[in-house]
């Protein structure tokens, strides 16, 4: 894929991540989830960006956290950035080394788990070890939400790579 096309795609994905993040604050909280828990639809955008290039992934994670900084404050932005970086790193590694073995749902679940683990770790620096007590709940919920964002990732990859004008051929199985 041409660099100009990658940059344009990264911009669109960043916009989608911000929009998804904003819309998510209007979704009523899940009744059994801890307060503040979010499904993480915007994670689908950062995972798609990770399929495009590491730079795009980093850009989307940064833009996403910058938006959180404006709307929800510094602590939330720090948590968002830590989670974003960790999930991007895991997604990049899986695309690079395990693409033949794992599907998008598996990538989504692993990415969500990395997101939760990183967030809880940073959270524990602020609040103390009590933060880790969240982890079991977050991991279980994250498995389902990760599968959901994984399906979105699959749809996005199909849209991007199965087009007739896809620059480097159909990378993605129909």
């Amino acid at each position: 894929m041409k660099n100009s096309k990658k940059t344009a795609l990264a911009g669109m994905l960043a916009a989608f991540a911000v929009a998804a993040g904003a819309l998510e604050s209007f979704v009523p909280p899940l009744p059994f989830a801890p307060p503040g828990f979010r499904i993480g639809f915007s994670n689908a955008a950062s995972m798609t960006a990770a399929a495009v290039s590491p730079f795009a992934a980093f850009a989307v994670a940064s833009v996403k956290s910058a938006f959180v900084l404006i709307t929800r404050g510094a602590t939330a932005a720090l948590l968002s950035f830590a989670g974003g970086l960790a999930s991007c790193a895991v997604t990049l590694l899986m695309f690079r080394f395990a693409r033949a073995k794992v599907g998008c749902i598996g990538i989504g679940i692993a990415s969500a788990a990395a997101h939760n683990l990183a967030q809880v770790s940073v959270y524990s620096l602020i609040i103390g070890a009590a933060a880790f007590w969240y982890l079991p709940y977050l991991l279980v919920l994250g498995t389902f939400c990760g599968a959901l964002t994984g399906i979105l990732l699959d749809l996005a990859l199909k849209l991007i790579y199965n087009r007739k004008d896809a620059p480097d051929g159909a990378k993605h199985k129909k």
Partner: protein, 125 residues
């Protein structure tokens, strides 16, 4: 290389994550005795410990963190009754009465969790 929506290894990833969650949950719930003790912490340092099993009537008290929050204790458990912070996430946790439960008020830096240390207090005290 082609990517698909689902492959068998995905199930393995899902079970690995769920298994890790189960282990963490077991580690939390098996530690300590069968009692219910509320441990209130400010940025990781214990501020107050309350044996919930010995609470007869509900009462409230304030905890001084970065913000001053009001907590309510009753025989059912403990809850953040009021926090001056704008997001009110801590109030939405509701009453914690089971071992392993946790609630955090991040703007105040205050957390409360239910541990199983109460039994030992009961035996020794």
């Amino acid at each position: 290389m082609k990517t698909r929506m689902f492959k068998k290894a995905d199930l393995f990833i899902a079970f690995a994550v769920l298994f890790a969650a189960l282990c963490a949950l077991l580690a939390i719930s098996l530690a300590g005795g069968n009692g219910r003790t509320a441990v209130i912490e400010y940025r990781g340092e214990t501020v107050k410990v309350i044996d919930l099993d010995s609470v007869a009537a509900p009462y409230t008290f304030t905890v001084e963190g970065d913000l001053e929050v009001v907590m309510e204790v009753s025989p059912q458990g403990i809850r953040f009754a009021y926090s001056p912070c704008p997001d009110k996430l801590c109030e939405r946790f509701g009453t914690l009465g089971k071992k392993g439960q946790v609630a955090v008020c991040m703007p105040a830096g205050i957390s409360v969790r239910i541990t199983g240390e109460g039994e030992y207090d009961g035996v020794t005290g």
